[in-house]
């Protein structure tokens, strides 16, 4: 089992004293940053499949540890042989691991749910994007989006569109060059922290100097080309 108990225990009570590098190496922590970014960005960001899988694999090994230890604690003979002090340590470790598992599960769940909520709001847009360029939605998200949109369309049809003139029944029409497909608001403001010196950014008629570790409030469209160099906060 490749569960790093020491690091979990060492990290207790040291909140805020970890360096940024230490803090960002734990998969759940890195996923948390993506979750925050996903919440703030107006459209879906790159899917973090590997990172998510890493967190899920971690969850599994945490759960294995919990099951194993809980079984030991049920075994009276084994408990007696441990001695009072060791038993207390084992119980504290167990509690810590349980807490860590809930935390990791929450981050992974929140990340997935945030993306799905975004898909729910603009399903036709993402389906259209998926056709023209691959990779915005993951496979499971595509399946979800596809199914929910079918159900939604059929509900509209049964609810009222079937009583409409045929030429008005579409849900993706472009009458008079106005598309029915809603698109994300790329001009939404976001707060970003810059990771490397990017230099001067021209936004409309204004120029902004982006320096490392600076925090800026900018329109998403202005930084959308520099997403690798900034953290969305």
């Amino acid at each position: 089992m490749n569960l790093d108990l020491e690091s979990i225990i060492n990290s207790v009570g040291r909140r805020g004293t970890r360096t940024r590098a230490e803090y960002t190496t734990a998969p759940a922590q890195r996923l948390k940053q993506w979750w925050v970014a996903e919440r703030m960005a107006p459209h879906l960001l790159e899917y973090q499949l590997d990172l998510l899988n890493e967190v899920i694999t971690n969850c599994r090994s945490l759960r294995d540890y919990i099951e194993e230890t809980s079984l030991t604690l049920l075994d009276e003979a084994a408990v007696e042989s441990l001695g009072e002090e060791t038993l207390r340590d084992v119980k504290i470790k167990l509690l810590l691991v349980e807490t860590e598992l809930e935390r990791a599960k929450f981050v992974a769940r929140a990340y997935k749910r945030t993306r799905m909520a975004k898909i729910d709001l603009l399903p036709y847009y993402y389906l259209q994007q998926q056709e023209s360029q691959s990779g915005i939605m993951s496979k499971d998200e595509w399946v979800y989006c596809h199914h929910r949109t079918e159900l939604e369309a059929s509900s509209y049809y049964k609810g009222f569109l079937n009583a409409f003139p045929t030429e008005l029944q579409g849900l993706t029409d472009e009458d008079g060059h106005i598309s029915m497909i809603e698109t994300p608001d790329m001009d939404k403001p976001v707060v970003v922290r810059v990771n490397t010196d990017i230099g001067t950014l021209k936004i409309g008629s204004e120029e902004v100097e982006l320096v490392k570790n600076g925090v800026y409030l900018l329109r998403f469209s202005a930084v959308s080309d520099y997403l690798e160099f900034v953290d969305i906060l």
Binding site: K105, R109, A110, Y144, L151, S155, K158, G159, F160, L168
Partner: protein
């Protein structure tokens, strides 16, 4: 006046935006708007057929066309707001919420959407996708039972739910019971 009915739906949608419950489906208004749209469509066809190169009549037909599109847009807005709410509820409470205020097509939607949810959930068993969206603060919580519900099997053991009894249990174990309103969290 044409378009007034659809306005009522928009007002209704706006009013219920922040409501916890989903209000009664406005079957009559929806039907009336559909009827009005068909009338407008007939008027448009009529105007177009007799227009020839008469610009006034062509403009009239154009306005009829716009009115129909407006009606469609209002109906879509009304229905979409309800469906998004239903989806939210389905994610949060799964199948345990009141559906008597819904139209037949919305009830079908809820049923089928729940099946979609079951499928997605199965793909991510390890992280319990429909679990609580509040960050976990404590492993164990105090809950009070609200109804007699017999014995409940959880991942880590069995407990007997009888009304007003209190338990000190793992939060993740009872999340589902809280959603179903069988137990409530006891605030410290």
């Amino acid at each position: 006046m044409y378009g007034d009915l659809a306005d009522k739906l928009i007002a209704e949608a706006r009013r219920s935006e922040n409501l916890e419950q989903i209000p009664l489906y406005q079957t009559d208004i929806v039907r009336a708007v559909c009827r009005e749209t068909r009338q407008l469509s007939a008027l448009e066809d009529q105007a177009l057929a007799t227009a020839g190169s008469d610009r006034t009549k062509l403009a009239t037909a154009g306005v009829y066309g716009l009115c129909q599109r407006r009606n469609k847009r209002c109906l879509l807005a009304y229905h979409r707001q309800r469906l998004l709410k239903l989806q939210k509820k389905a994610w949060h409470e799964q199948d345990s919420f009141e559906t008597s205020n819904l139209s037949p097509s919305e009830q079908v939607f809820v049923r089928e959407f729940n099946e979609v949810l079951v499928n997605v959930k199965d793909m991510f068993e390890d992280i319990d996708l429909t679990g609580s969206m509040d960050p976990p603060r404590e492993m164990y919580v105090e809950v009070r039972c609200l109804q007699d519900a017999g014995e409940i099997q959880t991942e880590y053991g069995v407990f007997d739910l009888s009304k007003n009894s209190q338990f000190y249990v793992r939060q993740s174990d009872v999340h589902r019971l809280v959603q179903q309103k069988l137990v409530e969290l006891v605030k410290k």
